[in-house]
Symmetry: C2
Subunit: 397 residues, 2 copies
């Protein structure tokens, strides 16, 4: 029996928590003989290191920032190894390069190209718990690289794939929910979720797992379990898998994205479209609900972007041309109704929008994909919309 477990930053924020994680691993060894543990940096360490670099330069070199940030995870692995050894569990820590995690050279958001597990396998055979620093690898040029947001989850899934075993991700939420329980306390737990639905949720603003890690798990068919670290109710988390054996509910989840701005652009010259695309692409922003069209000899272009990116985008667009009329709306939120059942239950969109009309909730943009319906509404209508949608699709407890 073999498993890869991943513990996030909030579950290893203090030495006391690291000790508890060690106890937890010791207990697990009674049923699972080979354990590989992936850890993040302690608590807010990564943010502190970023702030430190900002006191030197507003635009730190990405290679050097990777060197700096990698130290957070490196500290956690050694401390967890010590905590395990202290309770007589043989353990050994590995930085990314020692664990054989090879990547391309895109600093700050590197991709894993290959994992050479020889050293890990050697230590597992010696009955050692192997602790691997998440979020980091090594490029072909022998440079330290990091993977960007959710990087430790990616490390865990990639290792599980290479080591041909399941992956358990421990975090500060106890499972996947139909709706974020912080927004909708009456939300329901979901214990089995399809990879596709989980990816769509991540894209749509449900911050449980990053899209990339779920994508990787789907690609290599890694059994993924999501649960709360040190939770007494073991196994009460969520399994993410290819297909669920339950009678599938048509709708799995409603994801909410706040802190977004709708940007509308109007301009005459059609040659501007390509240039505007270039400006937007350069910022490598996650654009959403992108719409382009023509009306009364005017070109229209609209999209949603994170509030934090608005100033930057508007500045770039203004620099591009004086002839673009820019309007921004920040009082919107985006909702996404997600479920693999959507592709077969064609009546869902109809009943959804009928319900919203009945409740007098104006809908601004709508984008429909195979397994999701996304739309924007006014912020002030959020609570009312959530309550009615939860009731309509039985998403409450």
């Amino acid at each position: 029996m073999r498993v890869v477990q991943k513990y996030g930053g909030s579950s290893v924020a203090t030495i006391e928590q690291i000790k508890k994680i060690a106890e937890n691993i010791k207990e697990r060894l009674q049923v699972t003989s080979q354990i590989v543990v992936v850890v993040s940096a302690m608590g807010k360490t990564t943010n502190s290191l970023i702030s430190l670099s900002q006191t030197i330069t507003k635009n730190p070199d990405k290679r050097e920032l990777d060197v700096l940030l990698s130290t957070g995870e490196t500290q956690t692995i050694s401390l967890l190894a010590m905590a395990l050894q202290e309770i007589e569990v043989p353990a050994i820590s590995f930085m990314g390069f020692q664990a054989g995690i090879q990547t391309n050279s895109i600093h700050g958001r590197a991709f894993i190209t290959k994992i050479d597990t020889i050293r890990i396998e050697e230590e597992l055979v010696k009955n050692k718990v192997v602790i691997v620093a998440g979020f980091q690898g090594i490029s072909q040029d022998n440079d330290i690289t990091t993977f960007g947001r959710g990087g430790s989850d990616t490390t865990a899934v990639a290792l599980a794939s290479a080591l041909k075993c399941p992956c358990e991700i421990y975090t500060d939420v106890d499972s996947v929910y139909t709706i974020n329980p912080q927004t909708f306390p009456n939300s329901k737990q979901i214990h089995k979720v399809r990879y596709d639905d989980m990816m769509e949720m991540a894209l749509s603003g449900t911050k449980v797992l990053e899209t990339r890690c779920v994508e990787l798990a789907k690609k290599y068919n890694v059994s993924l379990y999501l649960g709360k670290a040190l939770n007494k109710d073991k196994g009460k988390g969520s399994f993410i898998m290819e297909s669920t054996d339950l009678e599938q509910m048509p709708i799995t989840n409603v994801s909410i994205k706040e802190d977004i701005t709708l940007i509308n652009l109007n301009f005459k010259s059609p040659t501007l479209v390509a240039k505007i695309f270039e400006v937007i692409k350069k910022g490598s922003i996650n654009l959403e609900m992108f719409y382009s069209g023509k009306y009364q000899k005017q070109n229209h272009l609209s999209f949603i972007c994170p509030n934090s990116e608005v100033d930057n985008i508007v500045k770039e667009l203004k620099a591009l041309s004086k002839n673009i009329k820019i309007t921004t709306f920040s009082e919107y939120v985006k909702l996404s109704i997600i479920g693999s059942g959507l592709s077969t239950h064609t009546d869902i969109a109809t009943s959804l929008f009928e319900e919203l009309e009945k409740q007098k909730i104006p809908v601004h943009q709508i984008v429909i994909s195979e397994i999701s319906i996304s739309f924007t509404i006014n912020k002030k209508d959020l609570e009312k919309a959530i309550n009615n949608i939860a009731n309509l699709f039985q998403l409450q407890k």
Copy 2:
């Protein structure tokens, strides 16, 4: 023109200081085109990390402690690289393993076995300042190792040897002195010191450079310069070299060791000697002024050790046998008169002890080597002794 510069922990304790060091390096580039910089962890970082590990275990695994401690230097290299880039100096940082610093596997006090400078040479040719993490390397098993106290100086000297260039060590003292100026404010600077004298000083308690780093410099004939970081008076430090071209003063320095205890052992069974040696060796303590003899059918054994080791040694000796009579004296200090001239000026010992007798300063133990005379006196006589010795050998300003 090429140089290796090393900046210690106190000179890179804050971001402001790191920025100043960067400015300093930029200025130096005007006269020296290829600069390799070795840095320590910021300020008290290493001690903080040790304390952190102590909250988990009193006896952390040495391999894991190396992983933890190495992060201190790794943070400094990336921050200094950013600071240089911010003022438009191309720079790149390397951890020990990236800089090709290969060591044996003795964690916590590893020795460098080989330096592969290919990557450093490549970057120097590209006109980059190369920043290397001090104190760390990589073993043949691909494990992170550290070098123990003064480890960053060792990194710097070893790199200078491999890169065939001089080495400059910047610290918080402005030069070597005849006597520690904190003890004797009227002390004189020495601008040229022989390797042998410098090593003897380090062994005798002058905490300017570690013996190991001077030994390495002597072995590979590395030109060594010691100065104060960011000192306006450039070149006012000390050159450490094979032989000085000055008319050699017979005495270069008086080193002082406080916080020492004299331990006297008396026992009958001569077979105990070997066992006592074993106990003492096990603690890997720097024993000094070791003396063993027989008097009236009793075996005597005496030595000096750091105060911090006394409890441990006494405990071990008591466990070894009940028949050892142990007496300890902690009110002593050890003085060492150092100078390569000692070997030719045979009258120095005579005039020294005549002077001490004249001043009614009792001397307890004496050990004489080729280039030093060491002896212990009572703590209360220290100031008087220093003043008279400084006067006798012209060591004051």
